[in-house]
Amino acid sequence: MSAVPSRLSIRSLWPSCLVLALACSLLLALTGAAPRAHAAEGIELYTPYTELSAPPGESISYSIEVINDSSATQQVAVGLTTEAADWQYELTAGGRAIRTLAVKSGESQTLTLQLEVPLQVEKGAYTFRVTGGAAALPLTVNVSEAGTFSSELTSDQANLEGYADTTFSFTASLRNRTGEAQTYALSADSPAGWDVRFKSGSDTITSIAVEPNASQTITVEAVPPQSVAAGTYPIPIRAANNATSAETSLEAVVTGNYGLALSTSNDLLSTDVTAGGERRLDVVVTNTGTAELQDVSLTSQAPVGWEVTFEPATITSVAPGETANAQVRIKSSGEALAGDYAVSLAASSAQKADDLTLRVAVKASVLWGWIGVLIVVAVAAGIYYLFRKYGRR
């Protein structure tokens, strides 16, 4: 305010002042937002941002000026009324919560309104009235999106199929929509015998921390028990803490496993054979799995010059739990040394294979032994003949 002008000049200015006031009120009427709440006692409340947008969980801070237009100091009781529930607010001035403040004549005081947008809130406009004595200041907050206090656990591919010896590996996504960092404990209600593990990267975990409005990818590995029957196994998994929880259900479909065992009919892994001779053995192919094995071929690895043949060389099919017999004929090389040799037999289907190693003891042919005995006997007979002929002289 400049220094007071002369009365004359005020009078001469009056009509122009009137025009200015009229223009101002017209402008105010046009914009529709009165920055000042007029009060009878001359108390005004002022804040620049009366309508604003905020996401759920946000904290909005208003700086509100309380202006005393009257000629006397005024005691102003401040408060806030609203129809929106769950909104937290606090009126502070000078660092303290305040209910009443005094404003000197022609001066203003600043107070702060701290307004918390709740996490769980509908989208829309919410109105608040800040009251200061008889004056009121309407405030509007537009909540930009629907707020939730929840967590989401989802899996893009919740159904996997595999054999009984497969490790089922699911990928799940855990999203924190609570507006606060959360640490979740991970648990799975696994079917009996299943081993379900949560992994993040290559580490096995039991809990995971997620930032607000962020998501984490969890790998869920499920290992079925060894003797699992074919079927569908639901695996409910759950991420929870004391504030929030999320769960989803994964599904592992086991299509039966393949198992193959090769053994000899008497479970003996040693046999003997004369050098150059042959030995027949019965081998048993057992399907230890739950799915049918087809085209089991029998092969062998034997020393050089040995012949190992199977009859039949290929078994067409073996039903689960059933056995199939084959005969193996091991013909040793005539050059084989006396002593032990290793002969390995293998049965393999497209899915599984098994092998066993036989210890074959080669025995030297006894033929030459008998020839040696014959020579000795012949010599002995010769001596006996000499005894008879020349003896008792």
Binding site: S333, E335, A336, A338, K363, V366, G369, R392
Partner: protein, 339 residues
């Protein structure tokens, strides 16, 4: 062995039944055997030989013990056949041959020493005709000569062998398996047969040669030939076979081996090696085909025996043939009172 005392203890009088008749007929043979053994035992020659062999055996046992004690700690020996290694272990630092080598080297000497003068000395002394004028069959005489010397050899070999076994038991501290024991017994039997071969050979020479010195030299010449020179000759032959190719073919190697096996010393060494070392699976050259897939494991006794069966029968047959020849020669020889 039936002792002559036992025979003498039999009643001379009384009824002459068939059994007594048999005993009476057999008695001269065993009396001859007993006399022969007695003569040998009292002779200086046998005493010196026995002393040499005992000393050699003690040396070899000492060598084997030190070798085993040093070698077992360095895992040089297969701990499964420690007992057999008492006979085969060589102490490389002391250069002492093992028991097996001593038997194969000194055994022939003993055989020759016991047999070279058995007939011709009796003949030159004139005791032969005097002896045969007694009611003694000629074949009893020649058989008694052979059996007495063989019994003596068997006694020496087995006593030394059992001595080594006993010391081995003390040193090693655990008993051998029956199979190992059988292997040792078979080895000792084989040694008796081998020494018996040299004995019959020298008896043969003593029948053939009039002078004891000639027969002794002939026997020793053959022994030295097979022990030393035969191997050298074969080495020469092998050297010429190698030629420019740098190495022998499998067929040439087999030929060499077959020639080598004409020597009784070679037969004996192959047979004893296989009997005392169960890990030996083949005596000839081995091809890669035979080795591929083979598991290095000791052979059972039966298989070891089968492996050296030709060697065993060869030695036995050679011994028997020599004996048969001596018998034939002796029976057809004229015996005059004085030559």
């Amino acid at each position: 062995m039936t002792s002559p005392q036992q025979d003498a203890a039999l009643p001379h009088g009384g009824g002459m039944n068939a059994a007594q008749e048999e005993t009476r007929l057999r008695r001269p043979f065993w009396i001859l055997v007993a006399k022969e053994i007695g003569d040998h035992m009292r002779s200086w020659r046998f005493g010196i030989l026995f002393a040499i062999i005992v000393l050699a055996s003690v040396g070899s046992v000492y060598g084997a013990i030190t070798a085993l004690q040093g070698g077992v700690q360095q895992a040089e020996f297969d701990a499964n056949f420690l007992f057999l290694q008492m006979f085969t272990a060589v102490d490389s630092s002391r250069q002492l041959p093992n028991f097996m080598t001593f038997v194969s080297f000194l055994g022939p000497l003993m055989g020759i020493a016991l047999g070279f003068d058995s007939i011709n000395t009796e003949r030159s002394k004139g005791t032969l005709s005097r002896l045969l004028s007694q009611p003694i069959y000629r074949d009893d005489f020649i058989r008694a000569k052979f059996v007495a010397a063989l019994l003596l050899i068997a006694a020496v070999v087995f006593s030394l062998g059992l001595l080594v076994m006993g010391v081995g038991l003390l040193t090693i501290g655990f008993p051998p398996t029956p199979e190992q024991f059988l292997r040792v017994v078979l080895f000792l039997c084989l040694a008796v047969v081998y020494i018996g071969f040299w004995l019959t050979l020298s008896i043969l020479f003593s029948i053939r040669c009039r002078q004891a010195a000639t027969s002794a030299l002939s026997g020793i010449a053959i022994w030295i030939f097979f022990s030393f020179f035969y191997g050298m000759l074969l080495n020469l032959l092998a050297g010429s076979m190698i030629g420019d190719a740098g190495q022998m073919s499998l067929r040439q190697q087999e030929w060499l081996l077959a020639l080598n096996r004409l020597s009784p010393a070679q037969l004996f060494s192959e047979a004893t090696t296989t009997l005392l070392m169960p890990g030996v699976r083949s005596l000839g050259p081995m091809t890669m085909e035979q080795v591929y897939g083979a598991i290095p494991a000791p052979l059972p006794l039966g298989q070891s025996l089968l492996l050296v069966w030709p060697q065993l029968t060869g030695l036995l047959a050679a011994t028997m043939v020599c004996f048969g020849l001596s018998y034939l020669l002796f029976m057809r020889q004229e015996i005059r009172s004085r030559m």
